[in-house]
Symmetry: C2
Subunit: 194 residues, 2 copies
DNA sequence: GTTTTTGAACTGACCAGTCAGTTTAAATGG
DNA sequence: CCATTTAAACTGACTGGTCAGTTCAAAAAC
């Protein structure tokens, strides 16, 4: 299972992910060359094609991987919490996730609302996956009466997701010196009405 | 001033802007070719280079033009209004602007939080220009006591701008059937605490 | 007659993807 | 143990295609 080969390969894929996510967040997908990615990851170009079908495939797997992590954190964060606290926990975990994987968040922000790209379907699916966890939480809150009955769950959950993303990335890009607690507080204040 | 020649030229530039903004919003800057832009604008490739120094130059002028329009609308919207109404007017005019120039808004959303692109400086400057109008309005509100004295104007104005952008684009991309009044109301609800 | 646009041809840089060859980890077997 | 074999993992030069940007003569618009 964890023999030297698979370990080595996992390590290579990880390094390729990291290199790709940074470069694509900085420059965008098309402006990032496979040579760049290989160079930053410290591997040969051929290795990229040994590990991934194509540049696009690398990107799609990267999206799946990153959103998978986020979704898992969301699920862990709300586990067993009553609705209102669960919402606060969601906001907190989104912020922490974005601080940790800032480049990935920038990449999502850049690509999430585009149209007509080849990976668009993948991204819409992943978006629904992440927003789905938020929606479940809000739904529970509405059903249990903790949240207002007239709350439009679909709208509220996608707004929550989008607002968190943009506020967090804006924070990291333009006012990184600001402590995370402040940002948490501002976001929760904005969002407390849910 | 407005003779037939300059008018014709303005018209050509306008068509090039429109073609470019749509294509770049869909695909990103690098993936959009000058041939594409000329084709969609219904113009020869040579015309692009007669009217603009380069592809990058076209893009920068486009950013300046689009943000200039937004800033002008902001200014017109707050003209003579008391602070709290002015904030509502800002939100409303941002939404209407984004509905009208959806592709440009998508483009801003994609490019605004990137780093290391050639036009990054231009974009930061333009961002400050637009956010500046919001900040002035909030500042006035704080000074006159209509808004809480402890409001962090810098943070609040950039949050206001970012939240409006992401909520509006999300609306147009994922729930276009939803009436603008609903979205206005949700946004104002989120933002009313300012 | 001047400005603007056309359209086609051309150049040179750049880049995704390929593939024949090399290195490395681990399995085999003595 | 150590030597040999195997195939997985990686390498990097190379190819074929693409595209930004240039040029220009001729036409169209004013």
């Amino acid at each position: 299972m964890a023999d030297g080969r698979t370990r080595r390969r996992e390590d290579t894929r990880q390094r390729l992910f990291e290199a790709a996510v940074e470069l694509i967040a900085e420059q965008g997908f098309s402006a990032t060359t496979v040579d760049d990615i290989a160079l930053r990851a410290g591997v040969a170009k051929g290795t990229v094609y040994y590990n991934f079908k194509s540049k696009t495939d690398l990107f799609e797997e990267l999206l799946r991987y990153g959103v998978g992590l986020l979704t898992a954190e969301f699920r862990a964060a709300v586990e067993g919490l009553p609705p209102r606290e669960a919402v606060a926990a969601l906001v907190r975990s989104q912020l922490e996730y974005i601080r940790r994987y800032r480049a990935f968040a920038q990449l999502l922000l850049s690509e999430m609302w585009r149209t007509n790209r080849e990976w668009q379907q993948t991204l819409i699916l992943l978006r629904e996956q992440a927003i789905g966890v938020i929606a479940e939480t809000l739904r529970d809150g509405v059903d249990s009466g903790d949240l207002p009955a007239d709350l439009d769950v679909r709208v509220a959950s996608s707004a929550l997701f989008g607002v968190g993303l943009v506020v967090a990335v804006d924070w990291l890009v333009f006012m990184p010196e600001r402590p995370i607690e402040d940002v948490q507080e501002s976001l929760l204040a904005i969002v407390r009405r849910f």
